[in-house]
Amino acid sequence: MKVSVVITLKKDVLDPQGKVIHQTLHGMGFENINEVRQGKYFEIDTKESDQKKAEKNVEDMCKKLLANLVIEDYKIIGSQ
């Protein structure tokens, strides 16, 4: 089963890369942007076939390694 997870910086954490991307997009003519936040996307192919167990397992991975919970949030966005 493949589990997809997105990791983003928490709202109150400065995201300088997102800011620069925003400015660049603005300079290219995309003028209707409020904010850009950059994150990370992981696709984890597990041997587990039970969806709940697989997601639980990935959640554990997020807490222990994939995300740093001081600054980041994780969200499992799908399993298939």
Binding site: V13, L14, P16, Q17, V20, L65, L66, N68, V70, I71
Partner: protein, 227 residues
């Protein structure tokens, strides 16, 4: 005094640290990250560099390596652990120090000399130190210290800030903050003050002909305090 410097894949200040420690009287051993046991040590140093190519987050992979279990046990038993630059990043990722090091505010790799001011001398690293302000070298892309509001309150309440970025006279303000660090923090302790992490490199300031002597003052004082 016995010291150990841990070498991770991608560490590149490990041998500089070895030279510095030996110069000031430590019997130093290099320890590979895949080893399980630490040699008998009075000080363990996590050196600077780019462990695991800074993949995922700086220091995150190294903080899970085999030797870190022994480092954790050593630190939790009161052992002295010092993390410099990438070593600092590894210490925050391992949970031994609070906070995290984000990308520098202006997205530039910074490589220059800075002044840092000692904030707390009630510990083995700065006790009896005659100097208040050091000139050290920094070289990092992720040195922007950050933590939650609750954490910064706890850090201040427990006097855990080790070093501030300052100017030559010791003024701490935004003008001398190179990377956007919260409250100009350049280094922090754990609550018990046996663990220190700092972005500046004292090991690069041990030779007056090449750089400066402020690192020499730091290491001489450190070994005297550990004796």
């Amino acid at each position: 005094m016995n010291s150990s410097v841990i070498t991770f894949p991608g560490s590149n200040c490990d041998r500089d640290m070895d030279v510095a420690l030996k110069k000031f009287g430590f019997k130093n051993k290099m320890v590979w990250h895949d080893d399980v046991e630490l040699p008998k040590s009075d000080l363990v140093v996590l050196p600077g560099g780019f462990s695991y190519g800074d993949y995922l987050r700086c220091g995150s992979m190294a903080s899970k390596s085999k030797i870190m279990k022994s480092v954790l046990n050593f630190a939790q038993g009161g052992g002295k652990v010092m993390g410099i630059c990438n070593g600092f990043q590894i210490l925050v990722e391992s949970g031994l120090l609070p906070g995290v090091l984000l990308r520098n505010k202006y997205l530039q790799f910074i490589c220059k000399n800075v002044f840092v001011k000692v904030n707390n001398k009630d510990n083995s690293y700065f006790k009896d130190e005659k100097k208040e302000i050091y000139e050290f070298h920094i070289a990092h892309n992720e040195g922007n210290y950050f933590c939650s509001n609750d954490q910064i309150k706890e850090i201040n309440d427990n006097n855990q800030i080790a070093l501030f970025y300052s100017d030559e006279s010791g003024n701490v303000n935004e003008d001398c903050n190179p990377n956007g660090s919260l409250q100009n923090i350049a280094g922090v302790f754990n609550k018990q003050k046996n663990i220190i992490g700092m972005m500046p490199h004292p090991e690069r300031m041990i030779d007056s002909a090449l750089s400066g002597e402020d690192g020499s003052i730091f290491f001489e004082n450190l070994i005297n305090n550990l004796r």
